[in-house]
């Protein structure tokens, strides 16, 4: 349950590769040596690890179209653990190398295999793998910061803190915790030990008026084809995020999620480890099997003791009968111009109050947009700066009819070629919707202010909110093939 070494690497599309930070744990290596005996494979120096790792990740030598070591079809990377094949007479394989990447940032670690060397145990039986994955994910979140993207300055300053961060979370190779997002190199003076055991995930104590903030966010995804032979798909997933400022070492808070009568049950419920107990009925419903109408549909009670930082209390998925916006998109190529027809209809169950609502119509594998002759029944139409995208700003409200449409033609006469995409060739094209509807959820789930209980002396201030957001909301052109296998329907 320990890691032998850890690497933090940056690169730009396989070029200007650099190990920004690495850490070896020689005592774990010592154990690895004892465990593997004569089959022990030593961890090479950083530059070698880097080269082997990039070959395995398919990132090495980006200019070469084929390299046997990198592109062999026998080589199936279908698990999160990579094999590094060392060269030279000693040879040997380093396994399981875990690597996670986000943009230009790659984190990797080599967990210890606590098994006899004669055979390779299945990955799933190695406890150190999930520990390694959690550690990497935690470090990644810390390095990326609040923006979720690596920016060079922030990254450099956070990288410089790594020795101190690791002193706290993984001093000798055994991960103890993941770094707090806003961690600093000088930890605050700890609160004195009291009579009650303080949770290890709560570094200090809050003093002041109790404030509980519960935010419910639902995301809706959709794939609409406007085609009889293809089934439109949509699904909803939601998260409840809390920030609790409550006094006491281990205060009790209960948040209750309710559904309207006849609401379909919440599926795949997952909870934060600070939830102290769970009712079995909350967990039973799952998206991978048919929904039982008589299934438990709330109220969903989550008793917990909150950590100091904001955290995701729970998440769920839900199957709703209709998508919030039903769209149709038709494209035709006529006389060197592209004729577009779009209609969008807002479902009557959805509140017609948007914070924003935009439809993006990107065009790939064509030149830049030249002339645009398009009429919209509502909102405004803009051409992006790069001239490869139409942005239809529908605004805060659909009209009374709850329907908007767009019709017209576009020519592509610019000199410069636009972006390329292997999926969207010919008339294969899509509209992507971006919207946010405050104070509503599609599943109907809601956190009632009065159903948030805080067991403390003073009356707490409780704030709840909810919102619906679009995520990967696609409407495909119905006059050409959409990039889905036609077999989907058969299943």
């Amino acid at each position: 349950m320990s890691v032998r070494a850890l690497w933090i690497i940056t690169h730009e599309k396989g070029e200007s590769v650099a190990v920004q930070f690495s850490r070896r744990y020689p005592t774990v290596e010592h154990r690895a040596k004892c465990l593997a005996g004569s089959r022990y494979v030593t961890v090479p120096e950083d530059s070698t690890v880097l080269q082997l790792l990039f070959t395995e990740l398919g990132l090495s030598d980006p200019v070469k179209s084929y390299m046997a070591l990198r592109d062999d079809c026998l080589h199936q990377q279908h698990s999160p653990a990579l094999e590094l094949h060392l060269e030279g007479p000693g040879g040997g394989v380093l396994w399981p190398m875990l690597a996670i990447s986000q943009g230009s940032l790659i984190l990797a670690c080599l967990p210890l295999v606590e098994a006899p060397p004669e055979f390779r145990p299945p990955l799933a039986s190695l406890f150190s793998v999930s520990q390694g994955l959690t550690l990497l994910a935690g470090l990644q979140a810390f390095l990326l910061g609040s923006k979720g993207k690596p920016d060079s300055e922030g990254l450099a300053s956070r990288l410089s803190m790594m020795p101190f961060i690791l002193l706290q979370v993984c001093p000798l190779g055994t991960p103890l915790d993941t770094p707090q997002p806003g961690a600093t190199s000088t930890p605050a003076v700890p609160t004195p030990a009291g009579t009650q055991k303080q949770p290890a995930w709560k570094t200090g104590l809050y003093r002041g008026r109790a404030v509980v903030n519960v935010a419910l966010t639902e995301m809706v995804r959709s794939m609409q084809y406007g085609n009889q032979s293809r089934q439109d798909l949509w699904d909803v997933y939601g998260t409840v995020t809390c920030k609790c400022e409550v006094e006491g070492v281990l205060p009790n808070v209960t948040v209750t999620l309710t559904l309207p009568p006849n609401g379909s049950p919440l599926l795949d419920v997952q909870v934060h480890p600070c939830v102290s107990s769970l009712d079995a009925s909350i967990l039973t419903a799952m998206s991978v099997e048919d929904c039982d109408s008589s299934a438990f549909s709330g109220p969903y009670k989550f008793p917990f003791s909150p950590p100091l930082q904001p955290f995701r209390l729970c998440s769920y998925t839900s199957q709703v009968p209709v998508p919030p916006v039903l769209g149709a998109y038709q494209l035709k190529e006529e006389d060197n111009q592209l004729c577009l027809t779009v209609s969008l209809k807002l479902h009557e169950s959805v509140k017609n109050v948007f914070e924003y609502c935009e439809a993006h119509l990107p065009f790939f594998n064509r030149n830049q947009i030249g002339h645009v002759d398009i009429k919209v029944t509502s909102g405004q139409l803009e051409v992006s700066k790069e001239k490869n995208l139409l942005v239809w700003v529908i605004g805060q409200k659909f009209p009374k009819t709850r329907e908007v449409s767009l019709e017209g033609a576009v020519t592509f006469s610019g000199q410069l070629p636009g972006p390329r995409d292997p999926l969207c060739t010919d008339l294969t094209a899509y509209i992507k919707l971006y919207f946010r509807v405050p104070d509503m959820t599609l599943s109907g789930s809601c956190v009632d202010q009065h159903l948030v209980q805080v067991y403390s002396s003073a009356k707490p201030r409780i704030v709840t909110s909810r919102e619906l957001l679009s995520s990967e909301y696609y409407i495909w052109n119905s006059t050409d093939t959409a990039p889905v296998s036609s077999g989907h329907m058969m299943l």
Binding site: S47, G58, A124, L278
Partner: protein, 967 residues
């Protein structure tokens, strides 16, 4: 000192081996320790200085003694540094742990490691910060972790301190209780393991262990087997076939049970990572003590099943693997599997997590597994459930391939062919997906998509090759795709190779490879020639080369295609004479020459080769074509095969054997041939040849024409002034720019003791020498044609040009080629050049008589003596060396100087002699050896006083040897 420590430390971390090339581990360690003791250095720098010790203790402290010394140093730094330097003190504890464990100090039970353990134990006994205060909590946390690591590396070390650890864990109320819990749980687990290894241990022993409060259990002596490496193995990795060590305790062990319960009660207060680690340890303990029912975990199960943390769910899965139906009902099992499926495609999870969950499905711990093998789908994983994981074009490559593999396994069980030979609907979906991938890839898909498509194809063929409906269709699609995208030739060849490799009980797959190649041959040879570009042709040649390796594929079409390409009127190929294309064409021909159906294509192939010989625009290609033509028309089949012998049936994917008939190693294998591999141990060594015998030719005179006119003088007595002329001539020669003095050393190059058959015959050896000081000019590389273990070792002559005539050490390495064509780099042991090896005889001009030499000797001697007495020449010096030697030994002593003796020195009797060492570039050491009674006196005069210590130790060494030999 103005050392830039941050830069040096980062250079060390980047590549310790490279860093230590410029210094030695000892020097670096000394510097680091000195700086650590320096009060002027700030804490930040000191923390940085600890990293080499923290990360590479074995490099810097290779032995117990060095480790011990270093640890003592670090301990004294720890004691002396300000209590406020928390970061530094924490890192010192970590560095100490690393050094003591890795340099085997702990297993040797050294004083420092005992002291360190005592210090750690003292620190952790300050629960709830009663003495040190809350500010020092990080230090106590680190101490706990150091102890935990010591226990992890020496399982059982704390097995007699369980009661104390238990008390500490219960007393601690700050967040540090987590550290105590980790320590206690590990010590408990190891103590239980220890008991399982003791014969006849039972409930009583377990109870005693839980209440033990004694000292540390050290390795060595009777209890040495305690720290056996098997204790490091987690019983959970053994799988259903492994034998878990168990402890027989009778019906129940109340104490252990209540201890486990108290751990579990507080587990909620730990971070998820520590909580999961605790659960794992507890599960391990209970697998070893079956008397305690795993139902103690039941209260935690719901919380664990609903968790969003991968580590906690993983711990639950391991729990299930360990306890199966004694803890998990059939419903629980079904639930857990469904949970895994839903998590494997959950939009909120990261891709590595989803991949991990999919792997968990493949190795799902079933309560009643039907078979145990590598990858087996659980019985409950039905096609209905699997639908959630169908691959789509929107998946990332790794997820898509994982899903593709998973679904293939599902449909393989489910998918017997139906009436029209199409297979099940699921299979149809997978094939449909594959063709969509193909389409996307063709639409300017990037490299990743291309690779993903071919990997998916391989997976599909591996599972469903027997379903002809799809495998035949795939061949057609691939051929059509190839003509549009010839650049994908290497991928197609790779797919053919890999499928062809599946010969063992997968005949269908290897047959498919043959069918693919045959179809590709048809596509290539039947395509319209007028549209053929040179780029396409290059790829076609690669494909045809691969096809020509298949003995079962007729090659007539290939030959006629090549003929028509080369002879067609529109072809500019012959005129342009592109060497690479010509080479590609010859590559095909070469394979054809070996083809079993050669007889049937003899005439067209001969035509083709003759045409190339006469008309191709590149002479090299013409020559090779002529060679092939001659071979084809004159040799029998057997001889032809012998001449063109290839590296076995591996189709050249492995290393090629040297063959004169191959022009260049084709394709990617070139890389492995071009890579310089590194040997693990030195393979070669240089053995000094016996130094030149007396009478050997003296160092050559670079200017044979530089003859001096010598006055004949038979007088052996050299009066002052008489030798002036010689001296002037001699000086003039030394000053002349053409005078080059080189020290020549001869060695035998031989193998070291490492006996590896691969290295029996070495070719093109190039020895490279690196200087370790600035006293010599750069040494040029030496080439040795070959070295065979069975033959006499070749002699190597090393020419050194000193700038200063001091002994030196050369770092030596060799690059060579082995029989299989690979290049290797191997270090050699350092080459030490000793002081006497730098000696040369007097570089007198050619034709000088002994008398003249004697005169020069006297002149120089006088000059040095006088200059020294006047004291105005900086470097001149005289000295005297005395020893007690009898006459016989004096003779032996003088024999050492034979080569450097000045003849005709009758004034020195009793075996005495004059000796002159010339030390290039310009120094002289003159000796007069005299015997006075039983003493030998060696009078020394030199024009470079810095040589005196060397001379002295040289004389000491040889006289010592003489004494030793005479005893």
């Amino acid at each position: 000192m103005s050392t830039n420590w941050p830069e040096r430390i980062s250079a060390f971390s980047r590549s310790p081996s490279q860093f230590l090339c410029c210094t030695t581990p000892e020097t670096f360690l000394t510097e680091v320790l000195r700086e650590l003791r320096d009060d002027r250095a700030n804490d930040q720098v000191k923390v940085l200085l600890l990293f080499p010790l923290l990360e590479h203790p074995t490099l810097l402290c290779p032995s117990v003694s060095v480790g011990e010394e270093t640890a003592l140093e670090l301990m004294s730094v720890f004691v002396q540094c300000s209590p406020k330097s928390l970061q530094l003190r924490c890192h010192l504890l970590l560095a100490l742990t690393s050094v003591l464990i890795c340099s085997s100090c702990v297993t040797s039970r050294t004083g420092a490691s005992q002291d360190f353990l005592d210090v750690l134990f003292q620190m952790i006994q300050d629960t709830n910060d009663l003495q040190a205060g809350a500010a020092f909590r990080p230090l106590r946390a680190t101490a706990c972790d150091c102890l935990r690591e010591l226990e992890a590396c020496l399982p059982g070390l704390l097995s007699q301190r369980l009661e104390l650890l238990s008390n500490l864990r219960q007393q601690e109320n700050s967040t540090l209780h987590q550290a105590y819990t980790g320590l206690h749980a590990l010590a408990l687990r190891n103590a239980v393991y220890h008991l399982t290894q003791q014969k006849g241990a039972g409930a009583g022993d377990l109870k005693a262990a839980l209440e033990s409060s004694e000292g540390f259990v050290w390795v060595g002596g009777e209890d040495s087997e305690i720290h056996s490496d098997m204790a490091l193995v987690s019983p959970l990795t053994l799988g259903p076939m492994g034998r878990v060590p168990t402890l027989k305790t009778g019906p129940d062990s109340k104490e252990l049970r209540s201890l486990i319960s108290s751990f579990l009660e507080e587990s909620y207060l730990l971070t998820s990572l520590s909580q999961a680690a605790l659960l794992q340890k507890l599960v391990e303990i209970l697998t070893m003590v079956p008397a305690v029912s795993p139902t103690v975990f039941r209260a935690q199960l719901l919380r664990l099943l609903g968790t969003c943390e991968v580590s906690l769910l993983h711990a639950t899965l391991l729990m299930k693997a360990a306890f199966t139906d004694s803890l998990f009902s059939a419903e629980d099992e079904a639930y857990l599997l469904k949970r895994l499926v839903s998590l494997s495609q959950h939009p909120l999870l990261s891709s590595p997590e989803k991949l991990f969950y999919m792997d968990c499905i493949l190795h799902f711990p079933e309560n009643r597994p039907i078979s145990c093998g590598d990858e087996n789908l659980p019985v409950l994983f039905t096609p209905r459930l699997a639908v959630a994981l169908v691959p789509t074009l929107f998946n990332d490559s790794a997820s898509m391939l994982a899903r593709f593999n998973l679904l293939s396994l599902v449909y393989l069980e489910d998918g017997v062919e139906d009436k029209d030979g199409q297979g099940s609907r699921g299979l149809n979906y997978l094939y449909d997906h594959l063709t969509s991938l193909l389409r996307v890839m063709e639409n300017q898909g990037n490299r990743e998509m291309v690779v993903t498509f071919f990997r998916a194809s391989f997976l599909f063929l591996f599972h469903f090759c027997h379903v002809k409906y799809y495998s035949v269709d795939l061949i057609q699609r691939l051929c059509a795709m190839y003509l549009r995208q010839t650049r994908l030739a290497p991928h197609l060849i790779n797919l053919a190779d890999r499928t062809a490799d599946q010969t063992q009980d997968r005949r269908d797959v290897s047959d498919w490879a043959l069918a693919l190649l045959t179809a590709l041959q048809r596509s290539v040879t039947e395509a319209c020639l007028s549209q053929l570009t040179l780029q396409d042709l290059r790829w076609h040649l690669r494909i045809l080369t691969r096809i020509a390796e298949e003995g079962d594929v007729p090659q007539r079409a290939t030959v006629s295609f090549l003929l028509s390409v080369i002879t067609s009127t529109s072809s500019v190929l012959c005129v342009s004479g592109d060497w690479r294309l010509g080479n590609g064409m010859l590559g095909v021909c070469r394979r054809l020459l070996l083809h079993p159906s050669l007889d049937s294509i003899l005439t067209p192939l001969a035509d083709l080769l003759q045409y190339l010989t006469c008309h191709y625009g590149d002479v090299d290609i013409q020559d090779h074509a002529r060679l092939y033509y001659t071979l084809l028309t004159t040799l029998s089949r057997e001889k032809l095969a012998g001449v063109l012998a290839q590296g076995g049936p591996e189709r050249g994917r492995l290393v090629k054997v040297h063959s004169l008939s191959a022009i260049m190693t084709e394709t990617e294998e070139l890389t492995s041939g071009l890579t310089v591999h590194q040997t693990e141990h030195p393979l070669l060594r240089l053995v000094k040849l016996e130094s030149n015998k007396p009478g050997d030719p003296e160092p050559s005179d670079p200017e044979p024409g530089d003859k001096l006119h010598i006055e004949a003088n038979s007088d052996s007595k050299s009066a002052p002034g008489l030798g002036l002329k010689e001296r002037e001539n001699y000086r003039a020669k030394l000053q002349s720019p053409s005078f080059v003095s080189v020290v020549t050393l001869q060695y035998h190059l031989t193998h070291t003791g490492v006996c590896d058959p691969r290295f029996g015959k070495l070719f093109s050896i190039r020895l490279h020498f690196d200087l370790t000081d600035s006293n010599y000019e750069v040494v040029s590389d030496i080439s040795v044609p070959c070295l065979f273990r069975a033959r006499k070792p070749p002699a190597v002559t090393l020419r050194l040009k000193p700038k200063q005539p001091y002994p030196t050490t050369l770092r030596t390495s060799a690059v060579f080629t082995t029989e299989d064509g690979l290049s290797w780099h191997s270090p050699l042991a350092d080459l030490h050049v000793t002081f006497p090896e730098v000696f040369l005889p007097l570089p007198a001009p050619l034709g000088w008589t002994g008398v003249q030499r004697n005169r020069v000797f006297e002149e120089i001697w006088t000059e040095i003596s006088s200059v020294e007495s006047m004291g105005d020449l900086d470097n001149a010096a005289t000295s005297l060396f005395c020893d007690q030697l009898d006459n016989r030994l004096v003779g032996n002593l003088v024999n050492n100087f034979q080569r450097y003796r000045i003849p005709y020195c009758s004034e020195l009797d009793n075996g005495g002699c004059k000796v002159l060492f010339f030390l290039p570039p310009q120094s002289h050491v003159l000796l007069k050896v005299l015997t006075v009674e039983d003493n030998v006196q060696v009078h020394i005069a030199t024009d470079n006083w810095k040589l005196l210590p060397y001379i002295n130790s040289y004389l000491e060494e040889i006289t010592e040897n003489l004494h030793r030999a005479s005893q």
